[in-house]
Homo-oligomer: 300 residues x 2
């Protein structure tokens, strides 16, 4: 497949998300809580790669669904991702004053307002998916499955659970099994859900749903390993030290546990696993294949 | 109607909620994040009046529905209420070390874990409502309407919005119109949703849904006024001052704005409004009528 089609498809998805996401956020200049709406928009504004909503739209397209009908769900997933970043940045968590080159939500608006804006964004994801206005033309059962998939992935057994494991093992000895469980929740669960939801909204059968689930899990893990490698490389460059020698900063990473070479090898293996699970979609998944390799090779 | 039937019905609902709520929370002693599960349970443990889930079950019963099928939804509403208390108590919010006579979640488990347990409880509400295992026998459309009702009530336009208004007007001049908007979101929205959801799950028509909505709104506002009166009375007794003279504590209340007598009169009016909106349910709503008066006359 040509690189041109790949770029074209991804750009269409990205443009749709950037255009639609603000529309699914609350807006009312007369509301006494309009500052809350402003913070929610601030937290969702461009800057991220929008990987999750793109995966939802692309899996929907690959399965023959109507991507326009998947947009509210794609945007809901991005809202969950955005809320998790707002809460992650809070002083009692990572205490990050900066996010995507701008002040983090609490640095810009105060801790109480950032907490509530995060709560409201998580909540908004479900408002958007369940709103009758956003689900016309979709079978009720598809909507229920899609919304349950997101709820299941983002909660105590998924993303929040992974964040808790992350905190509990800070400054403690950790092995690769624990790191995998942590990252399956913290990073892979939402990416997996993004893929599966695209299939549900296209009315895909169990075989395709399972394939998308396995793809998302492998991609999610590969994505995190690459993140760790990029972080370690940037830190080593800053400090003028060899890559991988920053393990003392309290949180274990694939690089701190495995070293840079084994981490790179594992990211490649996971990427191959992800690609392999796309077989059921035949050549319809060519854009996904290129996307998967691009994420492995990314430089930031 | 006899007081006996009233007590019997309410006790059945309350026992069902107390028994079922823990079952809908995650439990897995092998999970690395089992501490998270412990905190979620801690935050939901007995001590509250369970007004919201009782309303859901009773409206379901009044509309001829199967209350057993409404239980997951009743418990989901209580989870949203519980999460809101956990986040409200956090240092960046009310900074309350105590909740229901015990250490608040963050006092017991730390601020980061309390934040995440609150997030996980909000999320869990949607997991429970949307889980195929919990919605068998219910029409998909009823489930979607019920879950949307909760999402709509608890988010930026409802409960979280009300909390934001509360913060924005702290230590600022506030009139009764602002206080009403604040309390419609902060307190009444979730109570209103609890009533409406019970009707949806029983497959009730629009007339009954509207009546339940109006009832819940009036009851929610009355409930808050009584809360303010009880708070003001307790504070005045502690300080040995006349009731209503505690307005300097930063947050406006019905008592600080209206005085104790006008507040009592308004609570009675709202209670009468609530009772009036129950007419469509005829004598089936007798338990609700007694419940409504009992909430007006409560001493804590």
């Amino acid at each position: 497949m040509g690189n041109q089609l790949y770029n074209q498809v991804l750009n269409i998805h990205l443009a749709a998300v950037e255009e639609t996401l603000p529309k699914y956020l609350p807006k009312d200049d007369q509301a006494l809580q309009k500052l809350l709406y402003e913070i929610m928009a601030y937290a969702c504004e461009a800057g991220g790669k929008r990987i999750r909503p793109i995966l939802t739209l692309e899996f929907c397209r690959v399965c023959g669904g109507d991507t326009a009908r998947a947009l509210p769900f794609a945007c809901a997933i991005e809202m969950v991702h955005s809320y998790s970043l707002v809460h992650d940045d809070l002083p009692c968590m990572d205490n990050s004053p900066v996010r995507r080159g701008r002040p983090s939500a609490h640095a810009a608006y105060g801790e109480d307002m950032a907490l509530l804006a995060g709560d409201a964004l998580l909540n908004r994801a479900f408002e958007v998916m369940l709103d009758p206005a956003n689900r016309s033309g979709l079978p009720s059962e598809s909507v229920l499955r899609a919304a349950f998939e997101l709820a299941d992935a983002s909660g105590a057994g998924g993303m929040v659970g992974g964040q808790v494991i992350d905190i509990l093992y800070e400054n403690k000895p950790i092995d690769i099994d624990v790191l995998e469980k942590l990252q399956l929740g913290k990073t892979a669960a939402l990416i997996e859900a993004a893929c599966v939801i695209g299939c549900h909204l296209a009315g895909a059968g169990e075989e395709k749903v399972s394939a998308a689930r396995e793809y998302g899990r492998q991609l999610g893990l590969a994505f995190q390993i690459v993140d760790d490698i990029l972080d370690a490389t940037a830190t080593a460059e800053q400090l003028g030290k060899p890559v991988g020698s920053d393990a003392e900063h309290g949180k274990a990473t694939y690089v701190s546990l495995l070293g840079i070479e084994a981490a790179e090898k594992l990211a490649e293996e996971r990427t191959e696993n992800a690609i392999r699970s796309l077989e059921v979609f035949k050549d319809k998944a060519d854009v996904l294949r290129e996307f998967t390799y691009a994420l492995l090779k990314r430089k930031k």
